[in-house]
Symmetry: C2
Subunit: 223 residues, 2 copies
DNA sequence: TTTTGTGAACTAGTTCACAGCT
DNA sequence: AGCTGTGAACTAGTTCACAAAA
């Protein structure tokens, strides 16, 4: 380790944008590794997605000096670092709350399992769903048992996929159960305490946003 | 219309962020309208979600002078304006490409229908799926008929929910069929021409982003 | 040579603060 | 009085450009 390495320690805020990009880099590195590439430069990475090379170097340099000047980044090594930074070097345990169409689909989503996420349980309040399983075998529990299960199964992240009217109260239950991160697919603005990390995946907002750009006739490829 | 109204004309770029917020405002206005509220101030709106009142005024003022000083915004009027700005004043026609678990769930998602989106068709390449319908009644067509159907059904937006390996080639088919906006649920970076508006809803990136903040937040992970 | 890591410059996005209208 | 619309100030995020390292 050559120099200062200012990252990792202390609470110097990292933006949502950066976090998302790190994840994108990791996926790219997995592909490169599978192809047998030994090293990759920030320029090569930048060309894959629509990005500036300096951006990638800054994002990475924030967490340490992972590169080698004149060479680039060693794929396996950077991959290992990124997995650690993103916290997916060990299994991350996820619960899906809401066993409707969307919740069931998310529970069986193959992409989750691949990248170190374990879908541990589904939750619903409808008695006739409880005890059954998703097609992929994830068991449905009573949402009343959330707290108990969060402790027992060490659930890290809750994915919220319940109807709009129930979202806020179920979110409160999730928080009360001790979950510190929520991926919210339900529409509307949830209120959660500041120590809980909330990420909204609002389907209607996404479609309306696309509709807006169609209506304007503008376009601009971006994430 | 009182004054200058600099918005709407010309190509003065509006950011993705603004577009998303407009959609959020609209949902809030729908709720206010349902509650019978006649007017609303930017301050009151700002308190609903975590936002600054000036932000809301700026977002809206960009498209015209919709407010009344000393009063606020007339709910019904602003709602009407926002629906027009977002292009949801007429039915927006959506196709879901990929009739797997996720695609089927999205096709029946009740939130879409509510807000002026019509889910017109599902598409898949698996012959044994073609001709069937989602639980909610959306018919599954052969992805080979995409071009024909886009013309016939005037499809505005395609939602892409196919496995990662197929995503890029299916995206190309969607573009070739003349669709100008894609909501992409498949993982990985798609390449589309600049005149096509692409919005990524990457489930893995979202979870990893949450995992990242969890990993940072915990003052000291064991071992 | 190549390519990183990084201060400086730049661009985009947000908030402040107040004039001006009702 | 109350509240919008908006220039100015500020903050966050990105890109440039170059010294330093392999």
């Amino acid at each position: 380790m050559t120099g200062k390495n200012k990252g990792r320690v202390g609470g110097d805020q990292v933006s949502e944008l950066t976090a998302g990009r790190l994840s994108v880099y990791l996926r790219c590195l997995n592909a490169l590794d599978a192809e047998g590439a030994k090293t990759v430069s920030s320029k090569a990475l930048a060309e894959q997605f629509q990005l500036n090379a300096a951006q990638i170097r800054k994002d990475l340099a924030y967490f340490g000096e992972f590169g080698v000047r004149g060479v680039g980044y060693y794929v396996k090594e950077l991959k290992r670092h990124l997995r650690q930074i993103l916290g997916v070097d060990r299994s991350v345990r996820v619960a899906i709350v809401g066993a409707g169409n969307l919740g069931l689909a998310l529970a069986d989503y193959p992409g989750f399992r691949q990248e170190g996420f374990a879908i541990v349980a589904l939750f619903d309040s409808e008695k006739n769903k409880i005890g059954h399983r998703s097609k992929g075998g994830v068991r449905i529990f009573d949402v009343a048992d959330l707290r108990k299960m969060v402790k027992k199964e060490h659930i890290d992240i809750a994915v919220l996929a319940v109807p709009a009217r129930a979202a806020q109260s179920v979110a409160a239950q999730i928080v009360a159960a001790g979950v510190r991160a929520i991926l919210n697919f339900s529409p509307g603005a949830l209120k959660v305490p500041p120590q809980v990390k909330l990420k909204n995946m609002d389907l209607t907002v996404s479609l309306e946003s696309l509709s807006f750009f169609l209506a304007r006739g503008e376009s601009d490829a971006s994430s």
